[in-house]
Amino acid sequence: MEQALQKTPAPRDAPSLDPQATVAIDLRFRRGRSRIWLLAVVPGTILLLLVIVAPMIYMARYGVVVGIDRWWMVLGQPPGSTILVRTVLVAVQVTLVCGLLGYLYAAALVAAGPRLRMLLFALVFVPFLTSVLVRTYAWMILLGKSGPLSALQNGLFDLGLIPTADGGLLYNRFAVLVGMVNMMLPLFVLPLYSVMSKLSPQLAPAARTMGANRVGAFFRITLPLSAPGAAAGATVVFTLSLGFLITPQLLGGTDDLMIAQYMLIRLHTFADLTSASLLAIGLILLVAVIVALFRVFYPIENLVVAGAGQQARRRGIRRSGAAGTSRPDRGRWWRILVRSLSDALAVLPWGVITKVLALVLGVFLAAPLLITIPVSFTNDGFLSFPPSSYSFRWYAEVLGDPGWITSLGESLKVAALATVLSLVVGLPIAFFIARAPVSQRVRSIVLVLSILPVLIPVIVLATGTYVWFLQIGAVGNVFALAAAHSTLGIPFMVVVVVSALRDFDRRTEMAARTLGASAPRTFLAITLPLLRPAILTGVLFAFLQSFDELFIALVLASPTAPTLPIKMWLATTENISPALAVVSNVFILFTLVVLGLLMVFSRTRKNLKKASR
C-alpha cells in the first residue's frame, strides 16, 4: 500500500487488452517510472559533482602530483605538525568541556517545567541560529580591554589562564576556548536533548524503586540511554572544532594558530594552493577518521531522520545491560567507597543545582547576543563598555555608508539564489529518499551524500571550490557562489522534508486519487500544501546558511561585491568599531525573524499532524 501511488500509472487508455499486451505495457511503464525517479536526483548529482566532488578531486590532485617530501614539509614538521597537534588538542578540550556542560544543560532542560524549558531552549536555540561571526565579534567586546569582563583579568592571570594581566582577556588560548565552547555548546545540547527528551520519564524513578539512588540512577540509566545523542553531539562538535576558523582567528594569539587559520594564510595571503590543498586533505582525512570512530557508537545520519529515537533507545538498552537492577554490594572496599560516595552525593539537591547552573550557562550562551545592543547605541567614537552616553550615531553611520548597504544587497542576492537552488535540488532528493522504490541502502547513501557538505569543514570546501573555480574561471561569479552555498542549505532542506514525508499520511493522496484527481493534481492540491510548513522551514534554514557564510564567499565572491559577512570580517580584522555592533544587530534581527517564522511553521505542522492522525 505504501507504494501504491508511485505505482499508479499515468492514464492507461485501452481498458481491455490481451494479457501479453498488458505485460508489455507494464514493463514499459515500470522502466519509465524509474527514469522519473532518476530525474529526481539528477540536479543534485550535477551540483554535487560540480561543487563538491570536482573540487575535492582537483584538490586531491595536488596531493598526488607533489612528492612525499612536500607532504612532509607541510604536515610533518613545524609549523604544520605543531599546528596539527595543537588543533586536535583544542578540539579535544572543547569537546570535553561541551560534553560536561552539555549534559548538565540537557538534564536541566528535561527536568524543567514548561516555562523554564522554553526559556532554556530559547537560550540554546537562538545562538545556534545566529552567525558565528557575529557572536565571535561580541566576544571581542566582552573580553576586550574595556569590556565588561576586564575586571577579571588579574584573577585569571594569577590562575595562569591568561599570559598578561593588562591586555584584557583577548588574544590567548583561554579566549579561544571560551569562545569556541560558546559556539559549540548548542551543537552538543540539541542532539543530546532530542534523545534524552524521548526517554521515558519513568525510567530513572523506576530504577530508584529498585534501590539505586539518584546519582546511581543517572549513571546507570540516563547516561547509557542518552549516549547516542551525546555521541552525535560530540562528533559534530569535534569535527567542527577541527576546522574552526573565525573564533580562533579573532580571539586567539597570532602564535597560537589552528589548522584552518594556517590554511587561510597559505591560501589567501600567500596564494599557496599546494600547501592549502595538502592541509585540506589532511584535515578532511582527520575528520573522516573521527566520524568513522564515532559512528561505531552511533551512525549520526540516524539522528537527523525520524525513527532515530527508537533505535537510539534500543542500542542504549543493549549497551547498558541490566541497568535497572542494582547488584548487592559484596563488601569489596572500592564498591563500598563508590556506594557511599554516591550516597553522599545523592543527598545534594541536584534538581536545584542543575537548574541554577543551567541558567548560568544560559546567560553565557545569550551574552554575545545581548552585548551588541547597548554597544550599538553608544555615542562614543570607539568601543567602550559601558558606553558613556547613548545615541543613534552608529546606526546613522552604517545606514549612510553605501558600502554596508551594497553588501547587504549582495548577501540577500546570493542567499536568495542559494535558497532557490536548495529548494529546486533538495525537494526532489527528499522525495527520492522518502518514496523512491529503492532499497534502504540506496536511500541511506543518497541521504549521506546530500548531508555530506555539512560534515566537511567549511575551510576545506572553501579551499576546494577556490582551486577548482579558479581553474574553470568561475571565481567572482555570483551564481557559482550561490551554487556552493546551496550545498550547505540542501542538507537542511532534505532532512526537514524527509522527516515530514515520513510522517505523511499517504492515504490522503489515495483519497484524492479516488475522488478523481490525477497524480499531478494530487501533488499540487494535497501533497505540496501539506508539506508547505516543512518546505518553508527548509527554505529559512537554507537562507540563513548562505546569509551567514563567510569563507566560501571570501574566496569566491568578486572583490568588488563583498557579502555582508565578508565586509564585517574584513572590518573586524582592521578595527572593532561600534559600527559592527550595528551590523551584528542586523544579523540578530534576521535570526529572530527566522525564528519567529519557524515557530509559526512548527505550530502548523503540529496541527496538520494532529488532524491526519
Partner: protein
Amino acid sequence: MTETVNQLEVSALVKRFGDRTVVDDLAFAIGKGEFFTLLGPSGCGKSTTLMMIAGLESPDAGTIRLRGDDVTRLPPERRRIGVVFQNYALFPHMSIVDNVAFGLRMHGQGKRAARAAAEEMLDVVELTDLHRLPAQLSGGQMQRVALARALVTDPDLLLMDEPLSALDRRLRQTMQFELRRLQAKLGTTVLYVTHDQEEALVLSDRIAVMNGGRFEQVAPPAEVYTQPVSAFVAGFLGESNQLRVRLAEGEAPDGVVRLAPESVGGRTLLARRPVEAFDEGLLVVRPECMRIASGDAARAAGAEGLPATVDDVTFLGDHLRVGLLLEDGTAWTAQLPPGAAAPTVGSSVRVEWDVQDAAYLATAPQQARR
C-alpha cells in the same frame, strides 16, 4: 446497461508481495445496491483486495470489471468509485465542506455548485458547522465527513475499509445502523471490509469469509452463521464446540453421516452430511444448540449426546453459560436459557444436541462455495 450486469465483477484476482501470495485467485460479483462484506482476520488480504479494486494497488493477475467495463488497468481517478479509508484520510488543510467538495471540483464542477452539493450531502449525514477543520472534529464526525466525501460524487461502488474500527463500541453501533439507513436510502452498492463478525452480520446482504487470501464461504449472514462450510468459518463467526472425528462404518439416514470421535472411544455420532465427502474433520456444534440432561436420562429422539462433567456455571443476564469437560478433557460450552436449572459444578451430565445442529466440517479450507 441491462439489469443483469453486475456492479462489480472480479475474476482470478492475484496479488503477490515478494514471494508471498496475499490475494489468491479471488472471484466474486456484487449486484447493484448490494451490501457485500469481506470478513476475515487481520492480514488475510482484505485491504489489498480493496486497494486493487480502487486502483491504488495493481494486481498481478485477474480482471476487475465495474458495470461491465474492464477497469483493471485504469487509474483510480477514472473508476468512479468512492473510498472510505480506515483512518478517514481527510485532507487536514481543508475545511469540512472543502473536503467534501473536492471530488466534485475534480470532476469539473464549479466552485459554487460543488459547495452547494457538498453542503447538501453533509446535511444528509447530519453534519453542521461546515467550516471547521478536520482536526476540530470528533471521531464520529470525521467518519461522517469521510462518508459524505466518498458519496457526494455518486460513485458506482463504495469501498469501505474498516471504517468504524477507530470508534468506541457505542458509537460504532449507532454508525452501523446509520450506514445501513443511508445505504438503503441512496441505493449505493457497497463493498465493505471488516474483521468484526458482529458488524458483518448486522450490515451485510452477503458476507465473504476470507482466510489467507482466499474465500472460505460466500453467503448471506444467516447461512454463514448457521451453516458454516469449514471449521475456520465456524470458528471465526461466533463460538463453536469442536471435536476431532473421522468417518465411521455403518449405515446412516439420508443427509446424515456417521462419525467416530478420535479420542472419545466406543461410540459414533451423527451429523449433517457435507456437500463433499472427506475422511476426517471436525464435529461442530454451536453452544446455543446444546442441552444438558442428567447423566442417566434416556436419549431424546433425533438427538445426539456425550457424557461430560460440569466445570463451571456463569450467569450472564440473557443466558446461562455452562463450561463442560468431555471424557477426553476437551472443553465445551453450552448456552442455556436464563430460566434453566443450573447444573451443579462437578456433577456428571449428558450434553445433547439435535443431529440437524451438528455439522461435519473439514479442517483444511475448502474451495469457496457460491
